[in-house]
């Protein structure tokens, strides 16, 4: 039962992290969707992957909200690719989120409990 619960928990947890990984990939540098996917797989040590459709759906929303923008660049002998990057407000949002939510997990009190 524990393994089953673990899978369900991880599934829910990973779904909720899409924005985090997407922003992390774009903070690393501008990318097109396939590169974002590869970045997430590589940096999560293949524990997390998102399908193109989910990434595009989020990118369209973030672009509409002006926290992500893109430029068109020629692809490898194919159609032009959309290279996404964080806007200034996107970067600001991500930094504030990290400070308030991710760095919190790195505080000595929490580390101590986790290691005990």
């Amino acid at each position: 039962m524990v393994n089953e619960l673990l899978v369900i928990w991880e599934d829910t947890y990973k779904k909720g992290q899409l924005t985090f990984w997407l922003f992390l990939a774009l903070k690393h540098g501008e990318k097109y969707v396939e590169e974002i996917q590869n970045f997430i797989q590589e940096f999560s040590e293949k524990t997390i992957s998102y399908d193109e459709q989910s990434l595009y759906r989020s990118l369209r929303k973030f672009q509409h909200l002006e926290i992500v923008e893109f430029t068109l660049k020629p692809g490898n002998s194919g159609p032009e690719r959309k290279y996404y990057r964080l806007t200034t407000s996107g970067m600001d949002l991500f930094e504030k989120f990290i400070e308030r939510n991710i760095f919190l997990l790195n505080t000595p009190n929490i580390i101590k409990i986790l290691k005990s």
Binding site: T19, R60, K61, H64, L65
Partner: protein, 138 residues
Amino acid sequence: MNKQNQHLFSFIISITIWNVLFRLALSYLLANEIWYLVFVPPVIFFTVMFFTGRYFGLKQWQDLPTDVSFKYHLSNFCIFFIVSYGFYFTDLLSKYEPRVILDYTLFFWGLGLLFHFIQYLKYRKKTIKGIHHNQIFD
């Protein structure tokens, strides 16, 4: 034109065609006093309008989850009355379709539209650039 407006524009074109066909069919049946078939155009019209709205609404929602139901409702309202009064003022309606029916429809539908607008304003408070708070980081 962005994708959102493309969907709305396609919706407007489609419903304009349905409205014109509806008015032509209904007026034809009434003018020729084919009473037993008079219920057919409204039933088909309602069904086609419902599925047209659903089709473009879902397409738009999959593209970007913004609530554009009021925009679609307003477009529907405008097209229906432009076509209907257009037919009336160009004498294309039958003698069994007096103007008062259109006026009453305009009034009651207008009330419905006003109610929808109030709901839309309430919903808008929980959105950022049209996207509901729950939908942004889902």
